[in-house]
């Protein structure tokens, strides 16, 4: 009952303060389901909604309210945002405002980037979302512009360029607004980018700071690279961090080292494949924790960082958690970065567990033989990881994390060191030979309800093609996600039983959200296949899935 009353009260308060969206609104986003202002449906990125009009009983009456064409055949990975009855959605070439109740377009602002831009886009020409604050929408573009648009008109307020395609850079992630600063990351470890995070002034777009994620020569952390860090590269920041306003810390996942081949970068290669915490005002790093030192497998540390209050040993602890690319589910004290739990949630063969004292993985013989003698091995998980960029959700009601996991391994061998010693920025930074290994079950993806502390699944649902979409949990006892074959689905959050599905026109690689307006609950998601699985992993099951982007909103059928 409580959340409902709070929501109603807020519903009344909103119109008066329509444009004066404030810091408090961002802080309360997860608790105010009338709008969705942040990537992750709240600063904690739980993707959990207190709404329960659509629930285990009523979900069978869920029907489309409208759909809107994204007019594009590129993949639609973006998370929609909702404010005052308007939905805002991004794609690689446009930003759109749509009436949330009717699906009618209000404005559309297109983005033009030079064709060369896509030469350093490894894994899909996409965008994952925006940030909203005080009447403005903030987003990034493939050619690394950071821009602010007026939410009413779509007109550009400011536009600043961050990097060059020649630096191997691209931008696909959603920025966040934290403590009055716009924070965004960069993509491009596959092209040798030197990764960074940066802060921009909300008013003018002026760059306030840049925090490099791999050291320059002689800088702190360079002792973990050969030659004093002279050639340190990678560590991209291509997904979106979460923010704890009480601690004033932003948590961000740092990507893989470049190149993938590890032979010419012996050492831990900080701060690649790490979680870092930093101050949004200054970009000052407060702590870091590295999941995969000296990583040969592209076990990119960028997966969603979800905050929760977990009971550990009888005591409630403020944690940040991640279902890691490398197959382990990490739980850290988010004030200090101390490791509290790390258990595998998928098949893992490169490490026999994580030492909780040192935080380091116990490498298997296989892993050592790659690093020490460039051996060919079969290993799990594959470069795609135990899961990938598509965010998990967490329900404080069930205490479970809902993760679209992957069940794939690979035959792997680094190419001879000479092949990666003289790579130039902008060239592909791979240098490995990889053949995917598919599971005998024929199911490459498994939706799992995972206990964060043990990594064990309470329930699981297999899929032939790996799901490449985010998940969302609700107080209605539901978990929503989408399939690459186009089905948008709702599961019972306690049992995993599929309760509802709807066939959208293309594959789903988006991020579902839910919101309410005038006392009714709605669910919104994009359809539109693409992304790295579809582009680079053969899958006969997807032969008859057409491309084509669209935005869908569902509601309970009226009598």
């Amino acid at each position: 009952m409580r959340p409902l009353i709070a929501a109603l009260l807020l519903g009344f308060a909103l119109p008066a303060t329509a444009m004066a969206q404030s810091v408090a609104d961002l802080r309360n986003d997860a608790k105010t389901p009338g709008d969705v202002l942040t990537y992750g449906m709240g600063y904690n990125q739980q993707r959990f909604s207190p709404l329960k009009q659509i629930n285990r009983k009523t979900v069978k009456h869920l029907v489309p309210a409208w759909s809107y064409s994204m007019a594009s055949n590129y993949g639609e990975e973006s998370q929609a945002l909702v404010k005052d009855g308007v939905i805002y959605i991004t794609s690689h070439d446009k930003t759109v405002a749509v009436d949330a109740l009717t699906g009618k377009e209000i404005w559309k602002t297109t983005i033009e980037y030079p064709p060369e831009t896509t030469k350093t886009v490894c894994c899909g020409i996409v965008n994952r979302g925006a940030a909203l604050y005080e009447g403005r929408l903030y987003r990034t573009t493939l050619d690394t512009h950071v821009i602010a648009l007026d939410m009413k008109t779509g007109k550009e307020v400011w536009n600043v360029k961050s990097s060059d395609t020649a630096d191997g850079a691209a931008m696909t992630g959603a920025p966040i607004v934290a403590n009055g600063v716009l924070v965004n990351g960069i993509a491009g470890a596959e092209f040798g980018v030197r990764g960074f995070l940066e802060g921009h002034d909300l008013e003018t777009g002026k760059q306030l700071w840049r925090l490099y994620t791999v050291p320059g020569e002689g800088e702190k952390g360079s002792e973990t690279w050969p030659n004093g860090g002279a050639k340190a590269s990678g560590g991209s920041t291509w997904t979106t961090g979460s923010y704890d306003p009480d601690l004033d810390l932003v948590f961000w996942g740092i990507g893989n080292p470049a190149p993938w081949n590890p032979l010419d970068r012996k050492g831990d290669d900080l701060y690649t494949n790490s979680i870092i915490a930093f101050r949004p005002k200054t970009g000052e790093m407060v702590w870091h924790y590295q999941m995969s030192p000296n990583d040969p497998f592209d076990h990119d540390g960028v997966n969603a960082l979800v905050q929760a209050d977990l009971k550990i040993g009888g005591k409630v602890q403020k944690v940040v958690m991640q279902a890691g690319r490398n197959g382990f589910f990490y739980v850290l004290d988010r004030a200090t970065g101390k490791l509290l739990a790390a258990n595998n949630y998928v098949k893992v063969t490169w490490a026999n567990g994580i030492d909780l004292k040192t935080g380091r993985p116990n490498w298997t013989i296989d892993m050592k033989s790659v690093i020490e003698s460039a051996s060919k091995i079969s290993t799990w998980p594959s470069i795609s990881g135990g899961t990938n960029w598509f965010p998990m959700s967490y329900s404080p009601l069930t205490g479970l994390a809902y993760v679209n996991t992957l069940d794939m391994g690979m035959e792997y061998q680094p190419l001879p060191i000479e092949q990666v010693q003289n790579l130039k920025t902008g060239q592909p930074h791979y240098g490995v030979k990889i053949t995917n290994i598919y599971p005998e079950s024929g199911n490459r993806g498994i939706l799992k309800a995972i206990d964060p502390l043990s990594g064990k699944a309470k329930w699981q649902v297999p899929f032939k093609s790996a799901n490449w979409a985010g998940t969302m949990a609700t107080a209605g006892g539901l978990v929503f996600t989408g399939a690459l074959t186009g089905e948008f689905m709702a599961f019972d959050s306690e049992t995993g039983k599929m309760l509802w599905q709807f066939q959208t026109p293309s594959g789903i690689i988006g991020q579902p959200i839910t919101w309410e307006r005038n006392g009714k609950q709605y669910v919104t998601v994009t359809s539109g296949t693409g992304g790295v699985y579809v582009l680079k992993i053969p899958d006969a099951n997807l032969a008859h899935v057409p491309p084509g982007g669209s935005l869908w909103t569902f509601k309970l059928m009226e009598d």
Binding site: K119, G124, G426, T529, L535, P538, G548
Partner: protein, 107 residues
Amino acid sequence: MRKRFLAVAFCALATQAAAEDAADKAKIEDGATTYENYCATCHGMELRNNTGVAFDLRRLHADEHPRFVNSVLHGKQAMPAWDGTLTTDQVEELWAYVRANANDAKK
């Protein structure tokens, strides 16, 4: 004597053919790698054009080599120009890969 001579000659020919086959195969494989690194994002995995955003390269005929090289080096509309990124050899390897999988290729 004669028989033996023939046999030897035949062997030599076969070896040469096998060597050429192997060279072609290596060229096609290198082309496949370059394709995956630079082209699959738009033209789709294994040339399948499953993205629907680009041109189906399997439609190119054997006599369209000049068109291929020209489009790849100089770009076309949303397709970037690859001059300066790819070497002449890499473009030829790409062509070998495309032709090996062309709709009109003998399989």
